[in-house]
């Protein structure tokens, strides 16, 4: 039982560290699409797409709403605030920075 508590505490600490690293990674970052990436709406398929040199990514859910705000001017915090105002009650502060980070890892945001 005690061991479990220690483990939980360690996990919580690790999670906290991760959050800090993530915050550091996004601090001051003004996300913009990578040079070769185009975000566009596809009228024919009624879908939002990320278009790359050899690939098309069909965006699901609210991904396009988030990415459309990545214009190289807005900071991550500003993007979060705008989305929070637009989608009250959605877990924006938690999920958006993580999502942006993942998209950057794919090389689609800079």
């Amino acid at each position: 039982m005690k061991e479990a508590t220690v483990k939980e505490a360690a996990a919580q600490e690790a999670a906290a560290r991760e959050t800090t690293a993530q915050e550091a990674a996004v601090a001051g970052w003004r996300p913009a699409p990578a040079r070769s990436v185009v975000l566009r709406h596809d009228r024919v398929r009624q879908a939002d797409l990320l278009v790359l040199p050899e690939r098309v990514v069909v965006l699901s859910g609210r991904a396009a709403d988030v990415l459309r705000l990545c214009d190289g001017h807005r900071q991550v915090g500003e993007i979060v605030d705008e989305l929070a105002a637009r989608f009250p009650g959605a877990p924006v502060a938690d999920e958006v920075p993580r999502f942006l980070d993942r998209v950057r890892e794919e090389g689609w945001l800079r």
């Binding site: 040079r35 070769s36 596809d42």
Partner: protein
Amino acid sequence: MTGPPAPPWALLAELTHGCPLRCPYCSNPLELVGRSHELSTEEWEDVLWQAAELGVVHTHLSGGEPLLRRDLAAIVAAAEGAGIYTQLVTSGNGLSASRLSALVSAGLRSVQLSVQHADPVASDRIAGHRSFSAKERAAAVVRDAELPLGLNVVLHRDNLDAVDAIVDLGVAWGAERIELANAQFYGWALRNRTTLLPTRDQLSRASEVVERRRKQLAGTTELVWVVPDYFDGVPKPCMGGWGAVSLTVAPDGRVLPCPAAGTLPDLDIPNVRDRSLEWIWRSSPAFERYRGTEWMTGPCTDCPRRETDFGGCRCQAHALTGDASRTDPACALSPDHALVRALAEVPPPDDPESADAPRYVYRGARPEPRERATD
């Protein structure tokens, strides 16, 4: 088929069959379209507008050598204006900084450059044209313009042992993606099959190199390995299915479900000069011919992979068996698989000269050379 087919994603625009290179595996048809029969600027603009309406998202501006088209920037601008993402597929010959700058201003998004070998002498020998230094300059120009660069390399007996060096070259040239495509044998490549066919040992060594380099380069340079279907016993899902994902427009406006489909007999090939692209994609007999699974024969009919590989390549089935509706002989389940197996297992001819200088039948003279001199 129930309902209209899903819209196409990509259009391969073969702007011209003219090309300074004479590669022995050239994928253009045996009979090239002369330059006087090419679609005009206005016709290409119209094709691209129609393509966007139909759902095309990507266009690969290819050839031949698309840079031979003086109106290339106008064609790029038409694609960009229609909302289509453009990639230039080039030998690099003729890609100066000023030419690229004009194309980028018109909306060009990325460049794919062909390379024949990492060694300049070997590359020029395979291309049948002194072209390596132009390619090197072209890569630098693309990098300076900060456009994403892809390399495409057709692999065969003469360069498979150099895959490691080819990957090094791609990294040094700043390529984000290196496509290592084992030669496919139809058209001109079929003429050179004996000379181009690698050995099984070569292939397994090369594929090990690719695996190792892929791990090493993960996250920086993407390596794409297009399988040698003669050897794997698994057919390629050609074009992602007939009339399913993309279409090819030839220099004279003929529209094909795959660039090699012009080799199939009795295929009534539609032309954008006569018909709308929408009709061609949705209703033309040529695009309906091998769409879906109903046309399938032999082991394909109840195969669990029939919607994965679509029975393989129709052009290969026709080239090897004379019947385009048969299972691709590259498939181990095909009753005709022995045809491919016999070729794959034959050791290369024991010609002492062949190791240094393979005897290629180079791609023939360019179409209508006199006309080319005037453009």
